[in-house]
């Protein structure tokens, strides 16, 4: 690898998912993040009940992330060949888990506010 620039990285991700899907995912991630920050600021507290549900959703997010990447790359769990592969797999699972947790927390805050606004 001669040099790794942000531009190259963006090109790589566009290639992995296709330009439309990649930027749709970036936009989706940005919207969820903004919505997450918005509900934090609006509610001025973290609801532990919503947080619990978000945590419960994390394993499903991890699994979904792994399945998604493997489906996109014609590969399988049997292809994990060394420590670096395990780290990459865990990284994918971690990103999936965190992403889904934020999504679940934000969705609860946006759509079920009246039910749980006083449990912080």
């Amino acid at each position: 690898m001669q040099n790794l620039t942000l531009q190259t990285l963006i090109a790589v991700f566009e290639e992995i998912f296709g330009r439309a899907l990649f930027w749709a995912m970036v936009a989706g991630a940005a919207i969820v993040t903004i919505a997450y920050v918005y509900v934090l600021v609006r509610d001025r507290s973290v609801s532990m009940r919503k947080f619990l549900l978000a945590q419960i959703s994390m394993p499903f997010g991890a699994l979904a992330g792994v399945v998604f990447v493997q489906a996109m790359t014609s590969s399988h769990l049997r292809d994990i060949g060394g420590p670096v592969d395990v780290l990459v797999l865990l990284g994918v699972a971690f990103i999936g888990a965190i992403g889904v947790a934020i999504l679940v927390y934000t969705a609860q805050s946006l759509f079920f506010r009246s039910q749980s606004s006083d449990d912080g």
Binding site: Q2, T5, L6, A11, S45, M48, T73, S74, S75, G81
Partner: protein
């Protein structure tokens, strides 16, 4: 629990913003100074090398007349052909239009170069034009000499168990049709490679490994046999890699036939004839993968640019192996497949060659000497099965030169190396075409 302070702190947000900006600025390439010139630069070939070079020169030069000569309207992402020939990608995966990659400010002549006169400094085209140059970059790629295999013609590909993935996207797809029948019915699969220099010498191995892997999961063990015909006494030009491949072959029951060079095909009898040090020998096949000898295009050989005493049957351009500058005509450079250097017929080599020629060319235009050197770097994500590869990187001296030492072991079959081949490589290649990587 109350995170109000963090969430609403203006200072916190400013710090986050600053961190984001810092992250975004990391890795931005340094911008080299532009050079003003009226030089006429001609690039023969709009493949990976010619296109990347054109993009970089447009970035570096003000006022240069850059002309690209290539008759082909289609640009081929050749590293993808292996995936097409294993049924993992469609033929369209490797195709795009030449004009999609060329920058504004260059003139594209959609004809082929028919003659080069390095003394008069002109290039003739198939349309009858004569184009004068101050500097010439020769990057026309190479020619697959299918006629050198007796009894073989490209229209046989895809039928009667014959494949030839190098010949282009359509042929790679037809190769998969023949290979797929083999993976479903079993029999004997024979995989060959020529005795000439060739582009990506790992590709014949990749095809053998992939078809073996797919067959092991379709027709199943015991129903098929893989015979690999190596052109000489090794399986790969880098000894340590050759040994690793030999071990993998043993593990997978792939039988290596050393010093077996395909010379004829009898499609009716399904028999391939090989030249060996002990005379000709025949091998029956149910699937045969043909890779023909590879040579420089005739225009190069006829122009007197080729080596006179090396690769005399192949005609690669006589260049300095470090600067890629012609040894007799200093205003001529060669890039990519056609360059007469000991290694470097891959897109990864092109990625490292192009900045070297750019440096020497731009230096010449500013009356100075270039300093960049090409060390023979090339890389090969050597696929060993669907889902795993070894990221092999090496130089002129057969040294392994891993990009991620300690992290990605070059001789280890890894999923991450497969991910690089399947998803990251084309993106990096595209960035290279645009002169950005």
């Amino acid at each position: 629990m109350d995170f109000t302070d963090l969430a609403t702190s203006r200072r916190g947000f400013l710090a986050l913003g600053a961190a984001g900006a810092a992250l975004a600025s990391v890795g931005l390439p340094a911008v080299a100074a532009r050079v003003a010139t009226r030089a006429k630069i001609v690039i023969v070939g709009a493949g990976a090398a010619g296109t990347a070079m054109a993009n970089r020169l447009v970035e570096r030069l003000d006022g240069a007349q850059i002309t690209v000569i290539d008759a082909r309207a289609e640009h081929l992402y050749q590293p993808g052909l292996t995936l097409v020939a294993a049924g993992l990608k469609p033929a369209s995966y490797t195709r795009s239009r030449t004009t999609d990659w060329l920058p504004q400010g260059v003139t594209l002549i959609t004809q082929s170069a028919t003659a080069i006169d390095p003394v008069a400094k002109t290039v003739d085209t198939s349309g009858g034009q004569t184009i004068a140059y101050d500097f010439l970059i020769v990057a026309p790629g190479l020619v697959l000499d299918h006629d050198a295999i007796e009894g073989f013609s490209l229209d046989m590909v895809g039928t009667n168990g014959i494949g030839a993935l190098y010949a282009g996207p359509e042929y790679a797809a037809r190769t998969w049709a023949a290979a797929q029948a083999f993976t479903e019915n079993g029999g004997v699969g024979v995989f060959t490679r020529p005795a000439t220099e060739m582009k990506c010498a790992g590709a014949p191995l990749k095809h053998a490994f992939l078809i073996d892997d797919i067959a092991s999961r379709t027709v199943g063990a015991g129903k098929y046999k893989i015979e690999y015909a190596a052109n000489n006494a090794s399986l790969f030009g880098v000894p340590i890699v050759s040994e690793k491949v030999r071990m993998l072959f043993d593990e997978r029951n792939i039988h290596a036939n050393y010093s077996h060079v395909l010379k004829a095909v009898d499609a009716g009898r399904k028999v391939a004839t090989f030249a060996t040090p002990d005379g000709d020998t025949e091998m029956g096949y149910d699937y045969l993968h043909v890779i023909p000898p590879q040579r420089a295009p005739d225009v190069i050989r006829q122009s007197g640019l080729s080596w006179a005493d090396r690769w005399t049957d192949q005609g690669w351009v006589e260049v300095d192996m470090k600067t890629l500058r012609h040894l007799r005509y200093p205003e001529v450079f060669a890039l990519g497949d056609v360059a007469g250097v000991p290694k470097g017929k891959t897109a990864a080599s092109v990625k490292w060659m192009v900045p070297v020629v750019e440096d020497h060319l731009v230096a010449a235009l500013s009356d100075s000497e270039g300093t960049a050197e090409y060390d023979g770097y090339t890389s090969c994500p050597l696929i060993t099965r669907v889902g795993r590869a070894m990221l092999i990187e090496f130089d002129y001296n057969n040294n392994l030169v891993p990009s991620f030492p300690g992290l990605i072991a070059p001789l280890e079959e890894l999923w991450i190396s497969w991910l690089m081949k399947e998803v990251a490589l084309k993106a990096t290649y595209n960035a290279m075409l645009r002169g950005k990587a």
